[in-house]
Amino acid sequence: MSMDILSLFIIVPVITVLALIFAKELKQSRIVAMLGSIVQFGMAINLVFAYFNERAINSDIMVFTKDVIWYKHFNIHYSIGVDGISVALLLLTSIVVLAGVFISWKMNDLPKEFFISLIVLSIGVYGFFISLDLFTMFLFFEIAVIPMYLLIGIWGTGPKEQSAMKLTLMLMGASAILLVGILGIYFNSNSDGGVLTFNILEIAQVDIPLEAQKLFFPITFIGFAVIGALFPFHTWSPDGHASAPTAVSMLHAGVLMKLGGYGVFRVAMYLLPEGTLHWSWFFIVLSVIGVIYGAFAALKQTDLKYINAYSSVSHLGLVLFALLMLNKTAWNGAILQSLSHGFMTALFFALIGMIYERTHTRDVTKLGGLLKVIPFISVVYVIAGLASLGLPGLSGFVAEMNIFVGAFQQEDILYRVVTIISVSAIVVTAVYILRVVGVMLMGPVKNEAFLNLSKVTWYEKTGILLLLIPIVGMGVAPLWLSNMILDSLEPFIQGLL
């Protein structure tokens, strides 16, 4: 292969970070960050097309693979490659990062450090999605998590120190547990007489002993699922989101929480299929509790960010739920839901940030009639809300439709019951979304100070449109994306079903 288009996803952000170190003040920093993110965005678009071209001639599980030995004694490789799922998530990441840079256009306090942390976080995410080696995957996972501490702690609002500490400790604690799971998988990867390996594709060919699968599946699952906001390990998420600055909430809910579902699918379930079958009932119950609990919790909140954070718990619970339904359609829905939620929730947080910047409150009860004063933001908020409650024509519908159609194909009584329960969460979602829309956007303008709120600026519009277009696009033309994902589900189907 002439050029390694995947490694560029690491190299370009690293170069961006190096350039940022020499940047001065806000103006240079944001330009550098923007240029770097635009290049990433272009690369992601290019990757999608390249992927389709490559897929037409190449039927391997992973394409654009590259493998360099790193620590030879442990058989650790720098091994990368993508399938349809990772390509889709890379695209999501690049869009959210770019939008995040635009939304942070006026970051006055320590701008250079802010953008460096943001880009370092994105390095972790990109690296995670392209890794085929458990060691490097784990390494990038931690690189993605740790900048959150500084991002929330320095630039956050409210009880930021406490939220940052809670978030970091819970996520790093989860990753520490994950380490045990990874080591367990590693030391069982020679069960059929081969050599120990961290390579996901090679481990997938090995029959790991049943006892080991039963032991390490829950450890690995929880290790990943904490960042995917699995109930009852979701408590870091509402506090973290509420305290984080806008762009960080966007990146965190939009991208970082997706690492959970992806890791669960790619590592825990794919490598430990019998463990999955053995434990799935337990985690299905937890994820359904998460779906319902998140929805009802969102109903009760008045802080916009908390509403959205609990709504994320609910939506991402649905991702885990769909993955555990062990069904092609549901899996497709789970990935689509990850993408849809990524765009949607990033958009929500961007809008909440803009509203907060203008009105200086996030309390729904203090807001009212915003549609009259800031129509652009309000209209987009309504669209995002409709996507969130699953209106046909927007991304949420496609995802949830797939999930529930798939889930209902399981004939087992437990699956039927939990499916019915989790479908009911959609109704609750509609209630809390429409309630916010009604109270906050409609009606009379509650506060006279709201009458002269500043207009939406070009960089805010750019950020919003970057996120809005995919939401509509996914809703109107989901097939190309859906096909890309469905193709890549084949190895999972062979391994798990």
């Binding site: 442990f74 500490m165 970091t168 790093m172 520490a176 547990i177």
Partner: protein, 475 residues
């Protein structure tokens, strides 16, 4: 045996030559230029470090009392690098405080003597040489800990160290005598062949372990650590926490894996329990510390607990991961101590609370500190991550998943207190933040070396392969 075989002791001879040169220099240096001894000592030790990297044969001397091989040689170089960094970091402190009271030369002579003791300790082929080395390495450090004679805490720390050290070496010696009683030999190679499971030999092994456990500050032999670190000059605290500890870990690994190999099933359990106790006690006590030196003391106790996870593996993988981790630990801990030293010298402040707002006034120092703490906490991509991951891999390779699980719980606990320092430096703002200052050349050099180590050691994989190769070749 001809004289050329003395070249096997090149490290020792060259260090001894430096000590003698310094004694002579003390006579000739004129009173108004007495600060030049610092430059001289650092220059000589720098040469010594560089020369140390020349390759060496594998052989033994004096009928097996003194042995050397690739791994021992490598480890001496690690110690050299660590001491060089400590010297660079403490140069300003020496110039300002110690040289003025005419005690500069002694400082170097004492420190180098202690290092010489460590060379002999890790090169020892029998318990006599081992014990000589142990004593030679401990006694000068006690004098150094009490070096700031004007401070009461410093004297207290010296007394505390010498008393506990004397007790520990006494216990160790008692254990050695029991081993002699059961095996009839003090040579490691002979003991390896004849040692069996008897009450006396087990007791001997345990007592011997306790003596070294004191130097590594394993729980329950850790009580001296925090007090001594707090009272001693920072350069001595860092010397104790990296060099002294590193050398003791190394010889412990060697002896457990050679002499006591046949009773491994016994010491495994002991190491298992002590590892858990050390990690938990070190980490839990570190949570509430306010003083940076005490904080680093408990953090270094906890790190020693992690090291035991590699030791429990009991094979080449164990040696390699432990040596690799110690190497990384030397750089990480010295970076942290270096920043503490710089700030203490310039601002006279040593509490975590005083570090509030440091990033806004001294961004570079804060970044060095952050890298060091991340490395100690084991966060990628800095070296500590790789060191810890490999240690845990070593323990997991023997099936100790529960131990690894407890260790990762501890990693999370430790992350909390490392983040407390980062919180003070980065998150907080303070009107009384330590004002901006510029470090002198030596200090800067000392910090740069550590940062290069922290950033490079993990990503550069051939280094680990080299260490692993040396460990496999170890008899």
């Amino acid at each position: 045996m001809d004289f050329s075989s003395f070249l096997l002791m090149r490290h020792e001879i060259s260090l001894l030559a430096i000590i003698l040169l310094l004694i002579i220099a003390e006579i000739f240096i004129q009173p108004h230029k007495k600060g030049s001894v610092v430059h001289l000592a650092i220059f000589l030790f720098g040469i010594h470090t560089v020369v140390g990297f020349l390759s060496i044969d594998e052989d033994s001397l004096f009928g097996g009392m003194f042995q050397t091989n690739g791994l021992i040689h490598f480890f001496k170089n690690v110690l050299n690098l660590g001491v060089l960094v400590i010297l660079l970091q403490s140069a300003d402190w020496l110039q300002e405080k110690i040289v003025q009271i005419n005690r500069g030369t002694e400082f170097f002579i004492l420190m180098f003597s202690s290092l010489l003791g460590m060379y002999f300790m890790i090169s020892s082929g029998d318990f006599l040489m081992f014990y000589l080395g142990l004593e030679l390495s401990t006694l000068p450090v006690a004098a150094l800990a009490a070096y700031e004679t004007t401070k009461r805490k410093s004297s207290e720390s010296g007394i505390k160290l010498i008393l506990s050290a004397a007790l520990a070496s006494g216990i160790s010696l008692f254990g050695i005598s029991m081993l002699y009683a059961t095996t009839g030999s003090i040579y490691f190679s002979e003991i390896t062949a004849v040692i069996g499971v008897s009450n006396l030999s087990i007791l001997g092994m345990v007592l011997f372990f306790a003596g070294l456990g004191f130097k590594i500050s394993l729980v329950p032999f850790h009580f001296w650590t925090a007090d001594v670190y707090e009272g001693a000059p920072i350069s001595i605290a860092s010397y104790l926490s990296v060099i002294s500890k590193g050398a003791a870990v190394f010889i412990l690994v060697i002896l457990l894996f050679t002499c006591f190999r046949s009773i491994m099933h016994l010491w495994e359990n002991m190491v298992y329990i002590i590892a858990i106790a050390t990690m938990f006690i070190g980490n839990l006590f570190a949570l509430r510390q306010q003083n940076m030196k005490r904080f680093l003391a408990f953090s270094s106790i906890a790190q020693a607990g992690f090291i035991l996870l590699g030791i429990i593996e009991g094979g080449p993988l164990g040696i390699a991961t432990v040596v690799y981790f110690v190497l990384i630990y030397v750089f990480s801990n010295l970076a942290a101590f270096g920043v503490v030293q710089a700030i203490s010298l310039q601002a006279g402040k040593e509490n975590i609370k005083d570090y509030e707002g440091l990033y806004r006034t001294n961004p570079k120092l804060s970044l060095v500190m952050m890298l060091a703490l991340f490395s100690l906490a084991g966060i990628p991509p800095v070296a500590g991550f790789f060191g810890k991951f490999f240690l845990f891999t070593a323990a997991a390779s023997k099936g100790y998943y529960l131990l690894v699980f407890l260790a990762v719980v501890n990693v999370t606990i430790s992350l909390y207190y490392y983040l407390l320092v980062i919180r003070a430096m980065f998150l907080r703002r303070s009107a009384t933040a330590i004002p901006f200052f510029k470090n002198k050349l030596y200090m800067r050099l000392g910090l740069i070396i550590t940062v290069v180590g922290i950033l490079g050691l993990g990503l550069y994989s051939p280094l680990y392969d080299y260490i692993f190769e040396l460990s496999t070749n170890f008899r």
